[in-house]
């Protein structure tokens, strides 16, 4: 972890207007998060649907307006850049989207798709056909795939094309939104291995957005867990997996059924539903579902830091008896 971080996010907020003509207000999709990503590192953003992880990723990539805070990429503040400034940044920061096939333009061939970055940023005397061959080889696809259309690809193949597009311009950072979504288990590994291999070979930094904790365990160096647009816990992946300190992280980890029928399931069950962003709970926003919640949690905001909790868990902590409301 030497040198300055490639990406530095500070107190970033993203708000959306809601309501009709009379009742206009705003909700916070991302409610103030900070983190750094260093060169050659993989950072994972983990959260369930509605946690704001995708919104955050789009904000970093400039696809979403940042309402407060700052984003610094490679020493340059990018949340204030205009269109042309951002275009220069996008040569060095690329993004992969959730839907493997749907993120590929349906009427373009694979060859056109993988060389699209060059068409956008100037070819600089490159032979596009050679580039297409080079990129397809790099992601392990035969060169004759260049003439295929997206609907003729399997999910895994389409995902590889997406990776090829993302690395075309030799970026320093890739943001991957659910890179394994919609893929079978046997194919998930292929994609993750490919990303890992490329990250090592090309010295990339990566931000992976996912709801799948098992994926995080194997690919990320550090991770952050998001709940209602905030980080509830940040840390080294191994440390978080070994001993989660925020109750929500602990619940998420225990909610992951493992393919072993004899493994004891000491599960932390979360009562109630995720609160609506329109009416954020007071105090600690997790208190409505937290088995450990005490009276202070309903009034005071938890301390900021790596673990946003009034009472961080000790290793191996169990929920307090069975007074959990059902």
């Amino acid at each position: 972890m030497s040198g300055s971080p490639i990406l530095s996010v500070r107190d970033v907020q993203v708000s959306f207007p809601v309501g009709g003509l009379t009742t206009r207000s705003a909700i916070l999709g991302v409610a103030g998060v900070s983190f750094d990503v260093h060169r050659g590192e993989t950072f994972a953003l983990v959260g369930e649907s509605g946690s704001g992880k995708t919104t955050l990723a789009r904000a970093i990539n400039g696809l979403q307006h940042v309402s407060d805070g700052s984003i610094t990429f490679d020493g340059e503040r990018i949340d204030v850049l205009g269109k042309s400034g951002m275009k220069q940044i996008r040569r060095r920061m690329s993004m992969m989207f959730q839907d493997p096939v749907g993120s590929l333009s349906p009427r373009m061939t694979v060859g056109d798709l993988v060389t699209e970055p060059f068409r956008i940023h100037g070819t600089e005397g490159r032979n596009l056909r050679d580039e297409a061959n080079r990129l397809l080889t790099l992601v392990g696809l035969p060169a004759d795939f260049a003439s295929r259309y997206p609907h003729q690809l399997s999910g895994g193949q389409a995902r590889r094309v997406g990776v090829a597009r993302a690395i075309a311009l030799n970026p320093s950072l890739i943001i991957a939104d659910e890179p394994t979504a919609g893929l079978d288990v046997s194919v998930q590994g292929e994609v993750l291995n490919l990303l890992n291999e490329l990250r090592e070979r090309l010295g990339l930094a990566m931000v992976i957005i996912t709801h799948n904790l098992h994926v995080v365990h194997h690919v990320a160096d550090r991770m952050a867990v998001m709940y209602l647009g905030r980080f509830v816990e940040t840390g080294e992946t191994e440390a978080v997996f070994a001993a989660p300190r925020h109750p929500y992280t602990a619940a998420l980890l225990s909610a992951n059924p493992e393919p072993d029928p004899d493994r004891a399931h000491d599960r932390i069950t979360l009562p109630a539903e995720v609160p609506s962003l329109l009416s954020r709970p007071l105090g600690c926003e997790f208190h409505t579902r937290c088995p450990w919640a005490q009276s202070i949690c309903t009034t005071a905001q938890p301390p900021s830091g790596n673990v946003a909790c009034h009472f961080p868990l000790e290793p191996g902590a169990r929920p307090p008896s069975k007074k959990v409301p059902s």
């Binding site: 369930e48 649907s49 399997s154 999910g155 079978d184 288990v185 046997s186 194919v187 998930q188 590994g189 292929e190 993750l192 291995n193 890992n196 709801h211 799948n212 904790l213 098992h214 994926v215 365990h217 194997h218 690919v219 992946t237 191994e238 619940a251 998420l252 909610a255 992951n256 059924p257 493992e258 393919p259 072993d260 029928p261 004899d262 399931h265 599960r267 069950t269 979360l270 539903e273 059902s326």
Partner: protein, 328 residues
């Protein structure tokens, strides 16, 4: 007696490029009061199997041969549309994957729940009481008032619980659950599974649970059926199959699940290759092309061999040669 007993089931679809052999010699039992999981990746024929059982195959689908015997007496493949309809909802119920689309958007939840009791012969108020009872059972808050609301006023998790309530309302002998938790978040997924298990014990029905999620199957089910390319490649109790997988595909599939790797690794196992084109099935073993242990004999047909008790594997290697997995 088994609640459901399927044997030698072959299903074809007619397509523009010729007949597609979607299910080949599928056979397994769903014993009484047990939860049987079906696991497999996309294209393995899980959905076709459910539709075949329910008599809801698409127009171009056709059951060429085989039996689906329900409660030891009725062969569902020979049942008339009317006879099938009489069973559905009453003796066989289903929960589908998509909680958003599973309920009719223009009818209130109460209306939908009373409508499906049309065969109960009870008065309207009794039907309403039954509906409220079921909603309470699946932990819908404020069940009395929930009846007047419409599906779009519930969250995804709640809709799926309502769907489960509707499926179990008539206390069926068999519940078919088609990936009911796939669209839900992890924390919701486990609560839904636990709910399903509780209800199954209360009602005492059998469950056929379809999922691609190995962890969910391991946790919920008693028995498991592993499918690949429209064939049952292995079946047995969850403990046997997950702890002593005998088919190379099952073994590799289990290895691929990142949850199985407790040690952190940077290189995850994969299964290179694709499933074969079901319009031109290979003559021999359907997994041969991707199998690391294959030998020349794999290109001929493979018999079904029982390893022990109810643990059956469709593979040439089992019995003839010890495989790596069993040595370990």
């Amino acid at each position: 007696m088994s609640t459901l007993s399927i044997s030698g089931l072959n299903v074809y679809f007619s397509t523009e490029d010729g007949p597609l052999h979607a299910l080949k010699d599928v056979g397994f039992d769903v014993p009484e009061r047990r939860i049987v999981g079906i696991v497999g990746e996309s294209g393995c024929g899980k959905s076709t199997l459910i539709n075949a059982i329910l008599g809801l195959l698409a127009d171009n689908g056709d059951i060429r041969s085989g039996e689906i015997v329900f409660e030891g007496m009725r062969d569902l493949t020979k049942l008339s549309a009317r006879g099938m309809q009489d069973l559905r909802g009453l003796r066989i119920s289903t929960v589908f994957q998509d909680p958003m689309g599973a309920l009719n958007p223009v009818l209130s939840v109460g209306r939908q729940m009373t409508n499906i009791q049309y065969r109960s012969g009870q008065s309207h108020s009794e039907k309403v009481a039954r509906a409220i009872e079921m909603l309470k059972l699946v932990r819908i808050p404020d069940a009395e008032n929930a009846l007047a609301r419409y599906p779009h006023q519930f969250s995804g998790g709640m809709k799926q619980r309502i769907a489960i309530a509707m499926a179990l309302m008539m206390e069926p002998a068999l519940l078919i659950a088609d990936e009911p938790t796939t669209a839900l978040d992890a924390t919701l997924e486990v609560t839904t599974i636990e709910l399903l298990k509780d209800l199954q014990e209360k009602i005492g029905c059998s469950v056929l649970f379809i999922s691609h999620h190995l962890g969910v199957i391991a946790e919920l089910c008693d028995d498991v059926v592993v499918m690949y390319a429209g064939e049952v490649v292995e079946r047995g109790t969850v403990r046997d199959v997950f702890q002593r997988p005998s088919h190379p595909y099952t073994r590799r599939l289990l290895e691929c699940d990142p949850a199985r790797q407790t040690q952190r690794t940077r290189v995850l196992p994969t299964i290179p290759g694709e499933i074969p084109d079901l319009r031109a099935r290979p003559a021999g073993c359907v997994f041969a092309a991707r199998c690391l242990d294959r030998h020349d004999g794999c290109d001929q047909h493979q018999p079904e061999r029982s390893v022990s008790g109810g643990h059956a594997v469709r593979c040439n290697l089992v019995g003839s040669r010890q495989t790596q997995g069993e040595q370990a």
